[in-house]
Amino acid sequence: MRLEKCWFCSSTVYPGHGIQFVRNDAKIFRFCKSKCHKNFKMKRNPRKVKWTKAYRRLHGKDMTQDSTFEFERKRNRPERYDRNLAENTLKAIKKIDKIISDRASDHIKNRLKTGKVQRQKEARKQLELGIHLVKAPLALAQDSSLCLPKIKVNVSQAQTEENQPMED
């Protein structure tokens, strides 16, 4: 029994699932489900289809190089059954899975960090500009604690002149 990878989306194909297509040059294409199979028949390139692992790896959405990938390399030599080895392997698989998923989510978090920081900055700016929609200016003047603390940003003169048309 062997767990294969779907040719189109790179997910694991468990035994009893999916279809194998054998081309005339004896190359085997395995698919995990009919969605991948139909996309293949439509001659779609998985590197251009957004939800496939090939696209995500190519466009840097998922991590591409990691030492944990060595564990999933295809090995063609069958191992003689050894109970201890099997037990240890199962334990290791669990641990390695956790490590891989942690690293993958870290990669994605790092990738999205710059966008998050940007959005927070923009939100803060918007709140500053539109504070009169949140609280009446009279109330703000009377009780200054309701304001957001102003952030001091060192900006050169030339930069402020550039920013003014954008604020319109």
Binding site: P15, I19, Q20, F21, V22, N24, A26
Partner: protein, 122 residues
């Protein structure tokens, strides 16, 4: 799912290029032939200067079909075309070489000669 009037390619060097199925061997009103079944076919296209000629009626064994082949372990295999190998009355292939992949099911059906000649058994 090969039925009469189906055109099949030939996977050996017997001299024929294309066959047309005339009859599915088995029951009297058997509809379709799959991988591992014998059919009676007529040669539609042949390589010149070979023992087999066009419009000769021969028996052939189906080795690859576009219709999926289901295995007991849940594996489903589909090939790219419908291909047969020309055999004689005993089931021995007429050609001396086989081209392309062959399904493993043929070994159970006693077509061992074909399986042994095949470059790849899948």
């Amino acid at each position: 799912m090969i039925q009469p009037q189906t055109h099949l390619n030939v996977a050996d060097n017997s001299g024929a290029r294309e066959l047309m199925c005339i009859r599915v061997i088995g029951a009297s009103n058997r509809r379709y032939a799959h991988i591992g079944d014998v059919i009676v076919a007529v040669i539609k296209e042949a390589v010149p200067n070979t023992p087999l000629e066009r419009s000769e009626v021969i028996k052939a064994e189906i080795v690859r079909t576009r219709k999926e082949l289901k295995r007991d372990n849940g594996m489903i295999i589909r090939y790219d075309d419908n291909v047969a190998v020309i055999i004689d009355q005993e089931g021995n292939p007429k050609g001396t070489r086989i081209f392309g992949a062959i399904a493993r099911e043929l070994r159970q059906l006693n077509f061992t000669k074909i399986v042994s000649l095949a470059p790849e058994v899948l």
